[in-house]
């Protein structure tokens, strides 16, 4: 027998680390308008290619092109721009608040605003999103009050979550926003279960599930896909590929070998890979998946390609593991700037109006922050009562918790 060569372990590494030159050739940026738009009742086996292409609507010049160019009114587009700007301003303020010690922690979605903001517009009241901590855009685009969100970030006396949660783990049933878990991936099968329930009940409401690229590695991602493929409930399975999971690049979750969108193929589910920094593409593809779900045609998996432009969280320093200028090299641009360009190109926007809108959203955020701070921040002012700590463990407080509350003397 010939001498057998020694084995060695393959450990994926990003093409570049701090000090190196950013490289995003693996993103495979296709020209806008190129990817086809199949009918919603297409056989999933027919569109496997769409997991490897990239659906884009907005081209370099800011024109909306190709079959996915959606018929959004100028008013809708301006609202979209405003939602994204508001999300960004809100994030900036909360990051600042964390630095000022008004909360312990914060997670922004800088650079990823288009995905949640545009997706939300494709849903109906009563639909339920099962988001991650980076989908605050869903709430903001739904018009949810900033003050309410901030009260939760500050864990103050008006925090509906009674101070129990870290910043960003909102819960807003009325807005179709399921309580965010700190545990990655768990919400994915829950969303599938919610959608199954809607189907069992003969309802018309659909679910939308959210997960990050890194978290697709979690086993619950598989659990969700198995149940989704077996029972075909009305659920949209969103994967937000922002290239990073804290310090691990997408290759550590399996993104080196293939595209995350392709995960759906092993389950016979249709899957689309989409430019997540393109408000129009996000809206159009979300509507397509929504229509499928609503028509009882079953789940759709969507990989949204984007870039986490900021740190993972306020506890993180990305300069330790990726080049500082990597964001500038990101080939899909900034979702806010791209939508702005489109509006200007359509003659529906101007630098002047843009400045005005930015000033407006800043003022709105500032005012909300002032109000929310008046209800307290993490270490100052009014807080949730200590006694409330014992509530909601169960619907009725059982005896042992009443005893413990008494022991604490509250």
């Amino acid at each position: 027998m010939a001498a057998v060569p020694r084995l060695s372990l393959h450990v994926p590494e990003p093409t570049v680390r701090p000090g190196g030159r950013p490289d995003f050739s693996h993103v495979g940026v296709a020209p806008a308008g190129e990817a086809r738009r199949p009918p919603v009742d297409v056989d999933p086996a027919e569109i496997r290619d769409l997991a490897f292409s990239l659906i884009r609507v907005l081209d370099e010049k800011g024109d909306a092109v190709g079959p996915w160019a959606a018929a959004l009114t100028p008013q809708q587009l301006r609202q979209g721009l405003r939602d994204m700007l508001l999300t960004r301003a809100y994030d900036a303020r909360m990051v600042l608040s964390q630095r000022q010690g008004k909360t312990s922690f914060y997670i922004q979605c800088l650079g990823e605003e288009a995905i949640a903001c545009a997706h939300r517009k494709a849903l109906e009241p009563g639909d339920m999103c099962f988001p991650t901590y980076r989908q605050q855009g869903l709430l903001i685009a739904a018009g949810w009050p900033l003050v309410d969100m901030m009260c939760s970030v500050f864990s103050n006396e008006k925090d509906r979550l009674k101070g129990r949660q870290l910043a960003g783990l909102y819960s807003a049933k009325e807005a179709g926003f399921f309580s965010v878990s700190g545990n990655l991936g768990t919400q994915y099968p829950q969303a599938v279960g919610w959608a199954m329930a809607s189907a069992i009940a003969g309802d018309t409401r659909i679910a939308s599930a959210w997960i990050g690229d890194g978290s697709t590695a979690e086993s619950d991602f598989h659990a969700a896909l198995v149940f989704a493929s077996v029972y075909r409930p009305p659920v949209i399975l969103n994967v937000v590929n922002n290239q990073w999971a804290i310090s691990s690049y997408q290759g550590i979750a399996g993104g080196e070998s293939t595209k995350f969108a392709a995960r759906a193929h092993g389950f016979g589910l249709p899957s689309l890979r989409v430019d997540g920094n393109d408000y129009l593409a996000v809206y159009a593809v979300s509507c397509w998946a929504e229509e499928r779900a609503r028509a009882n045609l079953g789940p759709t998996l969507i990989e949204w390609i984007t870039y986490r432009a900021g740190a993972h969280s306020t506890s993180d320093d990305p300069s330790k593991y990726r080049p500082k200028d990597e964001g500038a090299a990101w080939p899909l641009g900034d979702p806010v700037e791209r939508l702005k360009l489109h509006l200007i190109r359509r003659g529906e926007w101007s630098e002047e109006r843009d400045r005005q809108m930015r000033a407006e959203v800043d003022a709105e955020v500032l005012e909300a922050a002032r109000e929310a701070e008046s209800y307290g921040t993490l270490h100052e002012g009014p807080k949730p009562s200590s006694a409330s700590m014992f509530e909601d463990v169960y619907k009725e407080m059982p005896r042992h918790l009443r005893e413990q509350r008494q022991q604490l003397g509250v």
């Binding site: 049933k173 399921f178 099968p189 069992i200 005896r399």
Partner: protein, 337 residues
């Protein structure tokens, strides 16, 4: 009144709730067409249709995860985990999600789910068909854990669990599915039809969560037990002639501390029995609470009789099982001390 086996009583509870409440759906591995490997869901798919009783993929985390989603939607899912030994993959969904959802959402969302799982040994099931993981559940705040010892309670507790607004885990001692079990494998098996607690009222009734039952009154020593061990303790008491008071806890969380305290204060002695491994078992919590609440009434150390701290072996089953002999010895020891 009808005499039912525990399997029939469980099926009856599901049938009763499915009939009166369309929100109740039942699923799990082999639960649909086939009716479950222990037959607890037999006939339900035929009666209520495939979308209310169906087979699930073999993914326990998924089973509990989708149940949570259904509960959030507003249904009342009753999921079966085929054996308690296989619930670990679902542990994260139970602990991090079902148990915490109401709390973390400030009461906005909740997961009124029931997870049924056959537990316990005595059937030559080896280490992966014999476990009693209750202590891994009782440490988790936000869920309730119950375990019936007879058909009457099995039906009443299951109905109470389905109606409860919090997640409830129902552990079903599979050794009791078809009849009570004294812990003497060599004695002929008895059917529930011969036992008074095999009498199961028709229709809806509940055994409230959090209420223990005195199975045998006595003055010499209190025995705290649940599930199969209730019958073993009864056998031990009658075989040793010790005047033991036997409490069937039925519900571990919430726990009926009043009943426990009343009994131990009366007898001054306490023996705790469970089939799960000893260390950090639920018996430890019971011992600690008895100590805290009844210290000055205690005339002897509290004794624990439990499974040894080894995996549940196959051939050595009866050396492992805390049978009437070991329990009897503890009763006598408690009296001597």
């Amino acid at each position: 009144m009808a005499r039912l086996s525990m399997v029939e009583a469980i099926r009856d509870a599901l049938d009763c709730k499915m009939a009166e409440d369309t929100r109740v759906v039942v699923f799990g591995e082999d639960v649909g067409y086939f009716g479950g490997v222990f037959r607890c869901t037999e006939g339900l798919q035929r009666k209520y249709g495939r979308s209310r009783c169906f087979d699930a993929p073999i993914n326990e985390s998924g089973i509990v995860g989708v149940a949570i989603g259904m509960g959030v939607y507003g249904l009342r899912p009753v999921a079966e985990i085929q054996f308690a030994d296989y619930f670990y993959p679902a542990y994260d969904q139970i602990v991090s999600e079902a148990a915490r959802l109401r709390y973390r959402s400030g009461g906005e969302f909740s997961a009124p789910i029931v997870v049924r799982m056959p537990c316990g040994g005595g059937i030559y099931g080896g280490q992966t068909h014999s476990q009693s993981p209750e202590a891994l559940l009782t440490h988790v705040c936000g869920i309730k854990t119950v375990i019936p010892s007879n058909p009457h309670d099995a039906k009443g507790l299951l109905i109470a669990a389905i109606e409860d607004d919090d997640p409830v885990i129902v552990l079903e001692p599979k050794r009791l599915y078809n009849g009570p079990f004294s812990g003497h494998p060599d004695q002929p098996s008895v059917a529930w039809s011969k036992h008074p607690l095999g009498e199961v009222p028709a229709g809806r009734y509940v055994v409230p969560l959090g209420k223990a039952a005195v199975r045998r009154e006595g003055r010499a020593v209190t025995v705290l037990c649940y599930g199969t061990m209730v019958h073993v303790a009864e056998a031990a008491a009658s075989e040793t002639g010790v005047d033991a008071e036997i409490l069937d806890l039925r519900s571990l969380i919430p726990l009926d501390v009043d009943a426990i305290q009343a009994s131990v204060e009366k007898t001054g002695r306490c023996v705790i029995v469970h089939e799960a491994t000893l260390t950090s078992g639920f018996g430890a919590e019971l011992a600690a609470q008895v100590m805290e609440r009844c210290f000055y009434a205690l005339e002897a150390p509290i004794l624990r009789v439990a499974g040894w701290d080894t995996p549940y072996p196959h051939a050595e089953e009866w050396d492992y099982f805390p049978g009437p002999e070991r329990v009897g010895r503890a009763l006598l020891e408690a009296l001597e001390a």
